[in-house]
Every structure is written in structure tokens, then in C-alpha cells.
């Protein structure tokens, strides 16, 4: 900037700094900043080198068995080579695991498709999900076209994790919106009761809820309503997700000036229109980072369904190393499982950041 002589006042719009200039400005602006940057870089380099040596240089790859691993100072990836199918597919029958893989892909495709803005309409989204779940269920469960039936109790691994996760979010979100709206209801009795309900449920450990859904609910429901354990557990999990998400949405609503609702009313929009077009879109915008938080948490918490006997990824990983020959390789298996989790949750985080940027246009 500064003293550029400008005759007409018509100057070209400012261009962004070059990459190098941006780096210098952002990271090496002052001696202090430069020092901090250097120290950080050195630490990062050290960490990367250590990990690299362990995970790559000194590692035993698929060829070695447990005995070779015992000698090696690095990672023993042989366990993954030997047991990866267990980790990815759990107890799903060995010869049918291609179905599980396809089903997994179907769910992933559904998630990806519904992440694109063009499918965000009240008509398209349910269609996409119904189709996705249809394919998933058909493949996983089988029982037609000569595919042997595989019961829900045998489902496992990544496809189960993804199935539980996506179902919980997809069904939990609408419940969350309802709960949030009820919690803000004008009617004191409803608002209070829902508040107690939300506080009550979110105070419970998820394990207790899953356990209740799996074991105790059958006692409390008439027989025809009991259904399969997996779906009961998903229902309980959804409710759990919903109460958390409801509070997040309420937080987002709290950030809106009252004038917004008033303006909508003054235009004659009814309650639902006001909520769906004015209040919720803005509330979601304010609540996006915590929402992503909650979704990430939910993804990781799917690992708790092991408590009621489902072999999702984490449990399969546990089973993978706790045999006589692989019991020393738990670090490798955990790193592998962590990498799987990281791949998904990190993608979710980046998607959240993308959404934030996209929705940010109008912030003032």
C-alpha cells in the first residue's frame, strides 16, 4: 500500500501475496515468530522422523510372522496382513465378505452424495438415503438371489461402524431439531419437561443407554415392539445423539437476535416456515463447529456398541491382536485402527471447514 501515485483513482483490485511473501508475513514476521516457527519445525521433523523409522524403516511387513516381529525394533505390520479381514469385516462369514465390502461402499457413496449441496432438498435427501440403505440392507442381510442370509448379530467391522454411525446421525438429526424446538417452546410445561428429558438423557453414559436398549428395553416393551437388538441399540444411540445435538442447535438459536423471528412473523410466515427458513438455517450456521464436534464424537463412540456384543472396527481390532501369536502387536493394530478412525473423522472435519466457508458468505 502507501504512497503509490494514483492519478485516476482507478487502481486494479489488490492481488493476494505470493506464496513466499505470505509465508514470510505469516510465519517469519518478527525474530520471535521466526524462532517459534523454527522450533516448531524442528519438533515436527523429529516426530516425523521417529514415526517414520518405526513405521517404515524398521518395520516388518507382510512376509514376516510373529517370530520375526519379536526381533524387529520397528512396527510389525504382519499382523495387519494376516488379520485385516477380521478388522474390516468382523464376524461376517468369510466367504461372503465381498458383500460387506460392497455394502460399505454403498453407505459411503450415500454419505458422500448427501454431502454435496445439490442433494440438500427435502425430496432428494430421503430418496438418496432410502436407496443407500436399501442396497446396504440387501447386501448385508441377503436371503435372496441365492445370497445366504447373514443375521445382524454377525454383521461387523467397518460396514457396521458406518451403518450405525450414519443411521444415528441421519435419524438423530431430525429428532434433535424437534427436541430443540420443544425446549424453546412458549409453553412452560413442555419446555421444562423436554429440558429435564434432555438433561436426563445426556447425563447418562452412552454405555448405560446401549445396555438399556439391548437388555432392559425388551422387558419394558410389549413383545411385538421389541425388534432386533441392533436396531434397538441404534435407536437408543440416536436418542443420545439427538439430545446433545438439540442443545447445540439451541445454542445456535440463542445467538440469533429476536428481530429475526419477529420479522418472519410480521411477514406472515407461520411457525414452521419461520423455523425452517429463518431460525434453523442461521442456528445451524452458528452451531456448525460444535455440530461437527458432535458428529466426530459420535463416530468414535460407535466403538462402544462392543459392550452389547457387536464387532465394529475397534472391537475387531481388539480381537485381531489378542491371540497367542499376535498379542505383542497391539500397538500396530491400534495405530491401524486409529488411522481408520482418523481417515473418517478428519474427512468429516475438513467437510465441516468447507461448509463453514461456504455458509460464511453472508456473515456480518
Amino acid at each position: 500500500m502507501s504512497n503509490v501515485a494514483i492519478v485516476s483513482g482507478e487502481i486494479p483490485p489488490p492481488r493476494h501475496d505470493t506464496f513466499l511473501a505470505a509465508v514470510r508475513k505469516g510465519y517469519f514476521a518478527t525474530p520471535g515468530a521466526a524462532a517459534v516457527t523454527s522450533v516448531c519445525l524442528a519438533l515436527i521433523a523429529l516426530a516425523v522422523w521417529t514415526v517414520f523409522r518405526w513405521a517404515v524403516l524398521d518395520a516388518v511387513w507382510s512376509s514376516g510372522g510373529p517370530d520375526m516381529c519379536q526381533q524387529a525394533t520397528g512396527a510389525c505390520w504382519a499382523v495387519i496382513a494376516a488379520r485385516w479381514r477380521l478388522i474390516f469385516f468382523g464376524l461376517y462369514p468369510y466367504d461372503e465378505q465381498w458383500r460387506s465390502a460392497l455394502a460399505c461402499a454403498a453407505i459411503l457413496a450415500t454419505v458422500v452424495v448427501s454431502c454435496f449441496p445439490f442433494s440438500w432438498s427435502a425430496k432428494r435427501l430421503p430418496l438418496v438415503w432410502i436407496a443407500g440403505y436399501g442396497v446396504f440392507y440387501g447386501l448385508m442381510r441377503g436371503g435372496f438371489l441365492g445370497l445366504p442370509t447373514v443375521l445382524e448379530t454377525q454383521w461387523g467391522g467397518l460396514s457396521l461402524t458406518l451403518f450405525v454411525f450414519s443411521t444415528v446421525v441421519v435419524t438423530g438429526m431430525p429428532i434433535a431439531v424437534c427436541l430443540a424446538l420443544l425446549r424453546r417452546s412458549r409453553l412452560p410445561v413442555i419446555a421444562r419437561t423436554v429440558a429435564v428429558l434432555i438433561d436426563g438423557i445426556r447425563s447418562l453414559p452412552l454405555v448405560a443407554i446401549l445396555f438399556t436398549a439391548a437388555i432392559i428395553i425388551p422387558y419394558a416393551l410389549p413383545h411385538f415392539l421389541v425388534g432386533d437388538k441392533l436396531y434397538r441399540v441404534i435407536a437408543g444411540f440416536s436418542l443420545f445423539f439427538a439430545v446433545y445435538q438439540a442443545e447445540i442447535i439451541r445454542g445456535g438459536m440463542q445467538a440469533l437476535p429476536a428481530g429475526q423471528e419477529e420479522a418472519a412473523h410480521a411477514l406472515g410466515l407461520n411457525y414452521w416456515q419461520t423455523m425452517s427458513r429463518i431460525v434453523l438455517p442461521q442456528a445451524f450456521r452458528h452451531a456448525l463447529p460444535p455440530t461437527i464436534n458432535q458428529v466426530v464424537i459420535t463416530f468414535m463412540e460407535t466403538s462402544l456398541i462392543v459392550i452389547i456384543g457387536f464387532f465394529e472396527v475397534m472391537a475387531s481390532g481388539n480381537a485381531a491382536f489378542s491371540t497367542a501369536e499376535w498379542s505383542a502387536t497391539y500397538v500396530e493394530v491400534y495405530v491401524f485402527v486409529a488411522a481408520i478412525y482418523f481417515a473418517f473423522t478428519f474427512t468429516l472435519s475438513r467437510y465441516g471447514a468447507y461448509l463453514e466457508r461456504r455458509l460464511n458468505v453472508a456473515r456480518h
Binding site: P257, G259, Q260, E262, A263, A264, H265, A266, L267, G268, L269, N270, Q273, R277, I278, P281, Q282, R285, L359, V361, A362, R363, H364
Partner: protein, 250 residues
Amino acid sequence: MSTQSGEIAVDVKSLAKFYGAHQVLFDVSLSVAAGEKIVICGPSGSGKSTFIRCLNKLEDHQAGTIRMLGTELNEDLANINEIRRDVGMVFQHFNLFPHLTVLENCVLAPMLVRRQDRKAAEEQAMLYLERVKIPQKAGSYPGELSGGQQQRVAIARALCMRPEIMLFDEPTSALDPEMISEVLDVMIELAQDGMTMLCVTHEMGFARKVADRVVFMDKGRIVEEAAPSDFFDNPRHERSKLFLSQILGH
């Protein structure tokens, strides 16, 4: 629900309004015939905004009755929605929807409430945006507009609903004189179309030219209510005299 001239569009009787224990409106009564234009003025904090906010039930009142277009504003749900559909309002603080573009702000209600199709709604919205001189900002978000531009969008948005009664709360406060006269021209046109208008404003020029009556409020009461010529040239009440002397003096 259409009103012919001569019918009573707004009928307020002995209205009282409290915020908690703090009373801000005292025994306000006002009757407005369909097609009439009322200008409400009065010192800051005298309850003008509160009064017109009561008229479409954005605020609950604690005593008295309000009848809009023949329907009493009470606890009847359907009524309130019907009324709001036919009563437009421009807010003192604009209250644009920041997540929607200017155009979307304008077509939202016509599409949802009046069930217009998008194309018709957009065409009509562009018409009003042109009238308030900001068609070029149709694609911008409210956060990218200057104060005056926002106010004009707020006016266009309310007009897009083609309401029978319009409530304006200082619709020209953020505008420059030039734009004020443009906006007032729009309002005068509307007035000539027979729309009932209640307008909180201190544009005395507008009051003189358009208003059928001027209502002067102070401390939550209607102090004086008169034809503009009477009001300006011959105010009866001490308070009004003082007020007018200040205006005309400065």
C-alpha cells in the same frame, strides 16, 4: 378479506402495555379507516414502536382491544396468522435475514405465504427493488449493504407481500434526503393505490403531503390527533406545541 374504503381497518381501544411492571402504553385508542394514512410522531421513547408492534401482535398487550381488518387480535391462532399476512411491517432495525440474498429476502414470504411461484415472485420483487433503486444489489447479502440500502430492502420486502395495511417504523431514518424523497414517493404511490398506512416518521413534509391524520404520542399516550394542517399550524396541546417548535426551529 378485502376492505372497502370507509370500513374500519384498524380499531384500537384503551390499549395498555407493560414490560414487566413498567407501563409503556397507557389507554391508547385509535381508529383508522381503510385507505387512511396515519403519521405517528412523538419524542424518542414515547412508545411509537411499541404501539405499532402491538398491531400485528409482535407484542402482547395487557388491556384493551385491537381489531385489525375487522378481526380482533386475541389468543386465536389462526386469526393472528391471517392478520399478519395482510399487515406488512418495516422495522426500525430492518431485521433482514442475513443468510438470504436481497432477492431471496424479498421472495420468501410471497412464495411461502402467498404461494406465488418463484418466477412471479422474483419478477415482482425486482419491480419493488427497482422502485427503491437497488436492483443491482439483488444478489448481495444484507451484510454487504450500506445502512440506507438495507433499509430500502426492508421496505421492498414488506411491499412484496402486497399487504392491505402497512406499518412503517421510521422507514427513512437511515436514508439520505435524496433517497428519502424517492422512498416517500414510493409510499405516496402506495397511498394513492388505497393502501392503509400507519407510519412512524418525523418527515414532516411527508406528513403534510400524504397523511390524513397525524397522531402525536408522548410518554405512552396519544396526546393529540389531528389533520396535518391543523396539527402543524394550530397544535392544541402544550406538548405538541413544544415539539413542533423544536422541529420548525432547528
